[in-house]
């Protein structure tokens, strides 16, 4: 079962938000060196899945691994791009300030950034075509430019796997193209890119591999195999009525979704 070529392994993962389970027993592996789309409608738990992989939310059950190791062991190889709306862009910082954050390393937070760090940040800014804007206050950027700033920060980290939460939301066509081109370049350099995306109409033909999600795992595999009428119906055909009812009962009764000590390994 264990394949050395896995980038991310998610095992029996359940997560509850405000006591409502949003991910039920998710279990899959995804390969390395490809562009992987995690796709599902709004509220399907896509972002929560990424946060679970990044250790940002408490898990009700299961575990996740990156390159067959715990996140803490491979942190330097992982770059996370949060949703653009998750921060206040009025923060006093320039494009360059934010991208340089990608060079911050927890062990060396007291050191000044080296010339190499600054150079890598500049190169990342160049790659997302924002060099002309590097001294701009981030609030003065368009949504697409802000998304590119986040991407540049991830690029500056020089990771092997890039985990991005909805990078195509609210961006202009130019940014969409810049990001897509970059993703392909990254793939050609052997990097793995995992992208949460909410619909299959746009950019989906760039995904090599898909994980279809709607609270439960619908399907995962190479895009061509997974993209069937049946799977799409299951992903986008609304919530499961019975499941929603059960979720409400769990919330009302304040019930745990896993008994203590009953961890299926």
């Amino acid at each position: 079962m264990k394949n050395k070529k896995n980038s991310i392994e998610v095992h029996n993962l359940s997560v509850a938000y405000n006591k409502i389970p949003v991910l039920w027993d998710i279990d899959f592996e995804i390969p390395q060196g490809q562009i992987i789309g995690i796709v599902g409608p709004n509220g399907s738990g896509k972002s929560t899945l990424l946060k679970a992989i990044m250790g940002l939310v408490p898990l009700s059950s299961g575990y996740t691994k990156i390159f067959d190791k715990d996140l803490n062991a491979v942190r330097e190889k992982v770059a996370y791009v949060p949703q653009r709306e998750s921060v206040d862009w009025n923060f006093p910082a320039t494009v360059e300030d934010v991208v340089r954050m990608g060079r911050y390393k927890p062990g060396k937070l007291f050191n000044r950034l080296s010339v190499i760090d600054k150079e890598l940040a500049s190169q990342a800014i160049e790659k997302v075509k924002l060099t002309a804007y590097k001294d701009r206050q981030i609030a003065q950027l368009s949504g697409g430019q802000q998304q590119r700033v986040f991407l540049a920060r991830a690029l500056a980290q020089g990771a092997d796997i890039y985990i991005m939460d909805e990078p195509f939301v609210g961006v202009d066509v130019a940014t969409e193209k810049t990001i897509l081109d970059l993703l392909i370049t990254m793939k050609n350099e052997g990097k793995t890119v995992v992208i949460v995306h909410h619909d299959l109409q746009t950019v989906s033909n760039s995904f090599d591999y898909l994980v279809l999600l709607n609270t439960r795992l619908i399907a995962h595999g190479p895009t061509k195999e997974v993209l069937t009428e049946e799977n799409l119906q299951a992903t986008y055909g609304g919530q499961l009525n019975l499941l929603t009812k059960l979720q409400n009962i769990i919330k009302e009764k304040d019930f745990p979704i896993r008994e203590k000590g009953f961890e299926d390994k």
Partner: protein, 424 residues
């Protein structure tokens, strides 16, 4: 007035008080900047109210106003209040602001009770604890100031050392966590710095008003810069100036409590900022509106002259103009005179005509107008009778760069949707 100022800079005791309050102001500005950026200004207010019982307990424990014991008491109780707010808002259905209001008022009430217990058992005047409510800088002893200075220097050192993790936690805590920063620990450290700052500040500023010294300098500084290091520096500067001026004013007014005067001078600084800050200040916004308005008026004026010329009228009287474009007569006369002065129009026998440069400028505006109308119909599928209004505004915004793009996109057209010639 001058006498009072010379007094502050020559009298050794007054000098010490000024030094003390200056460093407290600076440290409040620095620490307040992080509270402000984390949108935790209400927590800062809650902490300052909550440390009162800590001060009282410290006094009851030591029996004197020993700054080290009082600081420790304030620190412990301050921490408890932060923890309690956090605990209530994360484990109950109470929202954060409700938890803050409940905890801060409860702690303040406990502090008030302890205060009256102390004043019953001892001479309240003698203890001087009442001064902690609204602050009295002059009651700071040399030893107090020495302790406060050491604490302040420690806070500055921590902020310099932890600048990067603090910046990360304030801007994007999910990202911070993703690269392995211990976010909870950093947040705890930031809360601790806030509690410590409040603890050293309350004797001079008072528990009731201390939060103003944390928040106002940061809020003002944000208006003047877009860089975090500069913002921190400015906040420190504003904090220092406001505190020093506040102390001077309070001393001049028959030794009144210091806190209110510091708040007044903070407010003056903030008001000044709101009025005069670049880009976001009131005057800056007004000036921008005025200059936009002026540009629109002038360009419309020249455009009308050009349109009249197209209709064959090259010597335009005020009446001719008003028939073509209904505007206020007084402002028209004024605007026309100004355009004559600027060399865009010339006058002959009470009629006005475009000069060469006026003609060029008018042609540019009309070109923008007609290009934009064309763009709206061709690219945005607007109907012919809907395009004029939009183009009236956009024509004033089109830069030479945009004009070039429009020309290319529309392949250098010669006439607009109404079949009028596009002037080049």
């Amino acid at each position: 007035m001058m006498e009072a100022i010379t007094y502050f800079f020559t009298d050794p005791i007054a000098q010490k008080v000024i030094m003390g309050i200056a460093i407290i102001g600076a440290v409040s500005g620095v620490v307040g900047t992080f509270s402000f950026l984390r949108k935790k200004t209400l927590i800062a207010d809650a902490i300052s109210h909550s440390v009162l019982p800590g001060i009282c307990l410290g006094f009851m424990f030591a029996g004197t106003k020993d700054p080290i014991v009082l600081l420790t008491g304030a620190l412990v109780i301050g921490w408890i209040s932060v923890w309690l707010i956090d605990y209530l808002s994360s484990t109950t259905k109470l929202s954060a602001d409700t938890a803050i209001a409940l905890v801060s008022t409860l702690f303040f009430a406990i502090g008030s009770v302890l205060l009256s217990v102390i004043s019953k058992s001892q001479n309240a005047e003698q203890t001087g604890l009442k001064n902690f409510l609204f602050g009295k800088a002059a009651t700071m002893t040399t030893f107090d100031i020495q302790v406060f200075t050491v604490v302040s220097i420690a806070i500055f050192v921590v902020v310099i050392l932890f600048f990067k993790p603090f910046q990360l936690v304030c801007f994007n805590h999910e990202f911070a966590k993703s690269i392995g920063v211990k976010v909870k620990r950093m947040e705890f450290l930031l809360s601790t710095l806030t509690v410590m700052t409040v603890a050293i500040g309350i004797q001079a500023v008072g528990v009731v008003l201390m939060s103003a010294l944390l928040i106002a300098p940061a809020a003002s500084a944000r208006y003047w810069t877009n860089r975090l290091p500069i913002m921190i520096f400015l906040a420190a500067l504003f904090g220092t100036f406001s505190s020093v001026i506040g102390v001077m004013l309070s001393t001049m007014k028959n030794n009144m409590p210091t806190g209110p005067w510091i708040v007044f001078s903070l407010f003056t600084f903030t008001l000044f900022t709101l009025l005069f800050a670049p880009h976001k200040g009131w005057f800056s916004i007004k000036r921008r509106n005025l200059s936009n308005h002026k540009k629109i008026t002038e360009e419309n004026l020249l455009k009308t002259f050009y349109q009249l010329k197209e209709e064959g009228n090259t010597a335009v009287s005020f009446r001719d103009f008003l028939e073509k474009r209904a505007v206020d007569t007084h402002s028209l006369v004024r605007d026309v005179r100004r355009m004559v002065k600027h060399g865009f129009l010339f006058e002959k026998d009470k009629t006005f005509s475009l000069t060469e440069s006026g003609n060029k400028e008018a042609a540019r505006v009309l070109r923008s107008h007609r290009l934009w109308e064309l763009y709206l119909t061709k690219r945005m599928n607007f109907k012919n009778d809907h395009i004029h209004g939009t183009a009236e505004t956009i024509e004033h915004l089109i830069t030479p760069e945009i004009e070039q793009l429009l020309l290319k996109e529309l392949d250098f057209p010669t006439s607009d949707p109404h079949n009028k010639e596009i002037p080049y």
